[in-house]
Amino acid sequence: MTEEIRMPIEASHIMMFARAICDDNPIYRDPEYGEENKPHSIIAPPTFVRAVAQFDPHHELRLKSGKKWFGSGKNASGLAGKAPSSGGLHAEQHFEYHRHLKPGDQLSVTSRNGDTWEKESRRAGKLKFAETVHEFRDQSGELAITMRSVVMHTEKPVEQD
């Protein structure tokens, strides 16, 4: 079990997230539309809680001030060695919704490691899979969303046909 992350659910973040997934549904941005239509509030899109990365102080895939970054600058990579995510690809993602989130919710998020397994593949060599389970609890301590993510580490970049 890693440390608990606090994730405030905010209307502007929901609006930006909806734009990022090309979803113009007013339920993600318009409070009046939200009041007049079910479920009677702005809500967050179904995949929104993956943005918990924004609130994780140790998130590896965010540039941190004063630290070397593996993306390009003067050179093609700012790091000489292997990048933190090198070879890591997203393999599976699962959500269970106990209730949908709205602006003002204050989530407490815990995560734990799940199963690991291996597989051989034609296009990327040996694949190593690792599962993480996140639980998002609201301000009353009730479970709102359970999220299961599977990341796959490949032996080499995925060959393109």
Partner: protein
């Protein structure tokens, strides 16, 4: 409009083009909103010279988010109880994606009417980029 069990049939499908000619700017927007700043999605130099891919490619979660837009347009807002996918092919700038849901089963659990869906998103070549499932609450 919420879906009504009396008007639904196993095998019914709903389909939507969820993105047409995906842009690199969309990937930048997704990185900014989600907090996944992996250079594989936005940094052409790193991705081609260091990671060994032909160009930047979409976050899996962007493809799932686009697929989720089709689902919520079909089942209504706040109706999903489950949504899961496997990412089966990468999505590239220029791709056009079509997401489809097919009614697999309609059942009642503890007094709630639920619909199970098979979910699939294909690129313009007909390759599956995500495949999965969803469950949504429906009206009688």
């Amino acid at each position: 409009m919420p879906l009504s069990a009396s008007k639904l049939h196993v095998g019914d499908t709903y389909e939507e083009v969820v993105v047409d000619d995906l842009t690199r700017t969309q990937l930048v927007m997704y990185a900014g909103a989600s907090g996944d700043y992996n250079p594989l999605h936005t940094d052409e130099i790193y991705t081609t010279e260091v990671a060994g891919y032909p160009t930047v490619f979409a976050h899996g979660m962007l493809t799932m988010g686009l697929t989720g837009k089709m689902l919520t347009n079909y089942v209504g807002d706040g109706r999903l109880t489950k949504f899961g996918v496997r990412f089966t092919n990468q999505v590239w700038p220029g791709d056009t994606l079509t997401a489809t849901a097919m009614v697999k089963e309609i059942n009642e659990t503890k007094g709630t009417l639920l619909m199970d869906l098979d979910v699939k998103t294909l690129n313009q070549k007909g390759e599956t980029v995500v495949s999965g499932y969803a469950t949504a609450k429906i009206d009688p």
